[in-house]
């Protein structure tokens, strides 16, 4: 039994080394991030969290009516929207409201047609230069994976959208820039775009700035990690399976080693 304990101590020690290595890695990302981001307690946080479909659909509405004027999401197709609980008819109708360029046709000419499920989200600008020209030199970033591309992504997006406050005394905001409490450096080219009742939610939810920010953050989190629900569900099953298998494996090992003094 003592040897058993020692064996486990070794195993635990080895794992602790690994855990320490993992722990050491975090400061690398934390470097330079001094602004504390409030936790919005999103439905999709944690081991079992799932995307709140209502919130994601409202977020889509905010993206469509507000953000998409400047921000592309070129990695998404309209068909992906089926995953947040919209019916096929709804998505087809939504896609058809956009016009995309297709072709060339048999005459070698490009033509325009309504978007289909298989089309990528329409981009607001044909290229980066056009986007910059229309936005005072600033480039509205693509939002496809934005919550993966920022530390604590969804919370950051929500904080940023609600972070347009009066600058502190003495803080000089450059011309064409806006003060934001959560943006690194606090000067952001994007103005405060969300105002109360900016959109009219079909489900009657009150469109406060915080509500819209939460909803669009949920939508963007889904857009960045559409696999997250399947991933976590699979992970729970696999880890439960491994724990059972580990127990059995350990029992087998004990039995095999039973006749060995060690």
């Amino acid at each position: 039994m003592r040897d058993l304990k020692r064996g486990f101590r070794n195993l635990v020690g080895a794992m602790a080394l690994g855990a320490a290595a993992l722990g050491m890695a975090t400061p690398a990302q934390a470097a330079g991030e001094a602004i504390a981001i409030p936790n919005a307690n999103f439905s999709f946080a944690g081991f079992f969290g799932t995307y709140d479909r209502g919130s994601a659909q409202r977020g889509l509405q905010v993206y469509k009516e507000v953000c998409s004027a400047c921000h592309a999401m070129h990695l998404l197709s309209y068909r992906n929207l089926l995953e947040i609980g919209l019916s096929e008819d709804q998505v087809r109708a939504l896609a058809a409201s956009f016009t995309v360029t297709d072709g060339p046709n048999d005459l070698g000419e490009m033509f325009e047609r309504p978007a289909r499920l298989s089309d990528r989200f329409r981009r607001p600008f044909p290229n980066e230069l056009a986007a910059r020209a229309a936005n005072n030199g600033a480039y509205p970033v693509d939002l496809s994976v934005i919550t993966k591309a920022r530390a604590d992504g969804a919370n950051y997006v929500r904080a940023l959208l609600t972070g347009y406050v009066e600058p502190p005394e003495g803080f000089v905001v450059a011309e064409g820039m806006n003060y934001n409490a959560y943006f690194p450096g606090h000067q952001i080219a994007m103005p405060a775009v969300l105002n109360p009742d900016q959109v009219e939610y079909a489900d009657g939810t009150a469109a406060t700035v915080d509500q819209m920010a939460r909803d669009v953050a949920t939508f963007l989190a889904w857009a960045a990690e559409p696999e997250a629900e399947q991933r976590k569900a699979m992970g729970v099953r696999i880890i439960l399976f491994l724990i059972v298998l580990g127990g059995l494996t350990y029992a087998v090992k004990r039995k095999i080693w039973a006749d060995v003094a060690h």
Binding site: A21, P184, I256
Partner: protein
């Protein structure tokens, strides 16, 4: 060796027919079945097998990723996201591969540290150790090039910083960098060759792993006591004893691995790598992957660029000559009361370097890095050579099986292992 059919002991006529002509089954039976293995391994001896399994996982997932990846600066980033979204279970394959790199380094770092603690690098296992260091170097090169492939901001800027290190060499430096890049900056030719090499090197690693294992099977394994087995009473057949024990470690390892893949797949990555590479925008802090941070800290600890580069390479190179730097004939640190603590201190220095490597290059991190770097080298170049002469080791047990651990716990004697009857 006599010419003619191999004298096979295998009963099954079909397998026997093959084995007489190509005795791979006899070989497997000898090397992984009856192979005499010290009976006193602890769970640290799992990590060689874990590394082997991880290499296979990396190659398997990597092959499927390569089927769907496009090595072109315009398409690379999007093709990786396409794998995540539109390839069946592509997210799983990619997250396993991405986190598998981290798990590989965790496993190999523990494996190396096991070797340092139990003196596995000492005679007669010097070449075995050197082959291990070669594998480690190849792993670093492979991981570095793999990190470039998604073509995110850290991919691009990490590649720029690391390849630029070679410019520190006088006269030829700039030419080497241009040659590595295939141009005058990190660009499409760089991405293409890195992809090619990233696919090639794992198979080179597999080849060196074969040599590593072959060398291991000549000298036999070291063990926690660091003394040689004196006879059959000190060893057990590898199967079923260590196949069973390795399996336990493997499942525990898979649980850790799965926790990372399924619940925190991007925890060890940098968010900036989900921003497409942009040569015109430099990230605020360019940091390498976590497993390179100790060496990155050593690099930055030196005010001179060339000096830093040499010291960084030196931190690995010193491992090659370690078998001759440690002058103590005693392998296991269990019997080296002073050396044991100097090694624990070295481990702390390693973690301190890992922490400092992720911080900006400013005070107090630079001074801390310097102290840790100094100790990292002093351990190998000063402490080990001197301690071998100055330290008085504890008396070694007579054999692995005999309960002579003075001051240690009693070990039940007798009970010679008998191989399990296979059902």
């Amino acid at each position: 060796m006599a010419i003619g059919l191999h004298d096979s002991s295998i009963k099954n006529p079909v397998i026997r027919w093959v084995d007489q002509r190509l005795p791979v089954f006899t070989m497997m039976q000898k090397e992984y079945g009856t192979f005499p293995t010290p009976r006193n391994f602890n769970y640290f001896w799992n990590f060689g097998a874990l590394a082997m399994v991880t290499l296979m996982i990396m190659i398997a997932t990597g092959i499927f990723l390569a089927m769907n990846y496009t090595p072109h600066t315009t398409y690379a980033f999007d093709s990786v996201e396409r794998i995540m979204r539109d390839v069946n279970y592509g997210w799983l394959i990619r997250y396993v591969h991405m986190n598998g790199a981290s798990m590989f380094f965790i496993v190999v770092y523990i494996h190396i540290w096991r070797g340092l603690y139990y003196g596995s690098y000492k005679a007669p296992r010097e070449l075995l150790w050197i082959l291990g260091v070669v594998i480690f170097l190849l792993m670093m090169a492979t991981a570095f090039m793999g990190y470039v492939l998604p073509w995110g901001q850290m991919s691009f800027w990490g590649a720029t910083v690391i390849t630029n290190l070679f410019s520190a060499f006088p006269i030829v430096g700039e030419h080497i960098v241009t040659w590595l890049w295939g141009g005058f900056s990190v660009d499409n030719p760089t991405l293409n060759r890195f992809f090619s090499l990233h696919y090639l090197l794992p198979f080179v690693i597999a080849g060196v792993v074969f040599l590593h294992v072959a060398a291991l099977h000549i000298t036999g394994s070291n063990n926690p006591l660091g003394i040689d087995p004196k006879g059959p009473q000190d060893t057990l057949p590898f199967h079923p004893y260590y196949t069973a024990k390795d399996s336990v470690g493997l499942i525990v390892y898979f649980i850790v691995f799965a926790s990372l893949v399924f619940f925190a797949p991007n925890y060890l990555g940098h968010p900036d790598n989900y921003i497409p590479a942009n040569p015109l925008v430099t990230p605020a802090h360019i940091v390498p992957e976590w497993y390179f941070l100790p060496f990155y800290a050593i690099l930055r600890a030196v005010p001179d660029k060339l000096g830093g580069v040499l010291l960084m390479f030196g931190s690995i190179a010193v491992l090659f000559i370690l078998p001759w730097l440690d002058t103590s004939p005693v392998r296991s640190m269990r019997f080296r009361p002073i050396a044991k603590w100097t090694l624990f201190l070295w481990l702390i220095a390693f973690f301190v370097l890992m922490w400092a490597g992720g911080k900006p290059a400013e005070e107090p991190y630079v001074t801390i890095s310097r102290i840790a770097t100094a100790y990292y080298f002093a351990y190998f170049l000063v402490i080990l050579p001197l301690l071998g002469r100055l330290e008085r080791p504890l008396s070694l047990p007579e054999s692995i099986a005999l309960p002579v651990l003075r001051g240690g716990g009693p070990m039940p004697a007798g009970a010679v292992a008998k191989p399990m009857e296979k059902a």
